[in-house]
Symmetry: C2
Subunit: 268 residues, 2 copies
Amino acid sequence: MCQANSSNKDIKTVCLEINDNSWQPMDQRTTPESIKVACSNCNLRELCMPIGFNPEDMQKLDEVVATRRRVKQGERLFSNGDPFTSLYAIRTGFFKTCISSEDGREQVTGFQMAGEIIGLDGIVSDHHSCNAVALEDADVCVMPFANVEELSREFPVLQRHVHKIMSREIVRENSIMMLLGNMRAEERIAAFLLNLVQRLHARGFSQSEFILRMTREEIGSYLGMKLETVSRTFSKFSDDGIIEVKQRYVKIIEPEALKKIFNPQTCS
Amino acid sequence: MCQANSSNKDIKTVCLEINDNSWQPMDQRTTPESIKVACSNCNLRELCMPIGFNPEDMQKLDEVVATRRRVKQGERLFSNGDPFTSLYAIRTGFFKTCISSEDGREQVTGFQMAGEIIGLDGIVSDHHSCNAVALEDADVCVMPFANVEELSREFPVLQRHVHKIMSREIVRENSIMMLLGNMRAEERIAAFLLNLVQRLHARGFSQSEFILRMTREEIGSYLGMKLETVSRTFSKFSDDGIIEVKQRYVKIIEPEALKKIFNPQTCS
DNA sequence: AAAATTCTTTGATGTAAATCAAACAACTAC
DNA sequence: GTAGTTGTTTGATTTACATCAAAGAATTTT
């Protein structure tokens, strides 16, 4: 979730800004695990919580979050088969969710960043059906699903919000199906980059440059292609002057060109 | 949704059985549109509604369904861009949902049969983001989403049920992503056939034979392959003695062989 | 019943992406 | 700092599936 603005120095700065929790009351600063935190004064509130609450309702809404949990890079927030108890709101960090077939093939089903909700897969069977892996050190708000449901019954605006989050995930996956079923490698990569930069921009990062949190292999798994093809496509875009790539650093030079590749129709 | 048991004659018989509504009270028999119907005495209740209601609660639950609506083969229940108002429970018939990119490429995102819920895509933006097309004459229960949400607040078991339905859809789409991203043509077709027959069997149809409601092209669109490849794969399975195919009629001769193709690991 | 349309099958050929392979860059551990 | 590990790039070759094409069923229209 740390994004470059122009140089390596800037990367660090931005990371500090978003990870820094010194603006929070002392009793909410980071300690080992399980710290009671409040949505009411979280700067990500408008991303993961409904808007339009009056102050006293907002206070009640804080009850939805039980604790906070740190997940180190490479560790799992939950795994396939784990009992489902909670949804998780990402405060900082970056996750991938993935499933694997019995014969070991892995499919990345999504990349999630701050303000996004993770764990919806577990509701249907009371067990998680995917793994959620932190791609960088992360910090999540643990929302026991019983709390979510109870408060949803009390607050229609929260209820609607929960429904929208689930519906959004369904719609997102629909568009991934379109990507996987109908698009060629260049179109997939263009769509991927545009989606990523759009979400990052909504979180206050640059519209043009960022640091990838995932490997070429993980991108390929998400987009249904091999890591070599991901790498070649990046190189191709770079040769064409559409993007600048240096390992995990990406700068979008010609966003319109990317949009045109993704969707030949709408753009000119 | 009408499935053969052994001959064309049987197909008609089964269709009649499931479409026949003479068991219903006179005032609920089919007329042009908008007939009040009750979940409490619907034979699909256990598929689309939560179980474990006591009789008086069940009565209240009937309020979730406002009307019924007939959709003729080829017609749409809703289209991309339509305002979202309701979820639909399929009583009879068979649907596909699909999205299309601006340049006209179509992606089938699902096939839905009796007892399944359709329309969840519309919640997030208050507008539908896909088309729902009847692949055969269909009859759906219209459930205004406002009713669903209101009753959900009153009945936790209904609330949980709605959440599970949405989560199930997310998990289904996850597995389609695995299919599209990692599997070869034969594996996709094997998975498709096994899934279809399993759902049909849960509805009282044969475990081994059925009539496809969709074209080769629609199957291909769902599975990310061309209609010729679908046809060739069917022919291959037929040559191998795994299935019997004659146009839309399919009989599964060797279910274990299909499972083995779908998942080389778990089976023998 | 004939004609038109839609859907399916099968064959021949082409191609985008996978696979195989090797060098190189970056990061981690000692 | 060096060795080992992990991730990335690029080239050569292969392949699964797409594309093109044409004939044959099945269904619908007239």
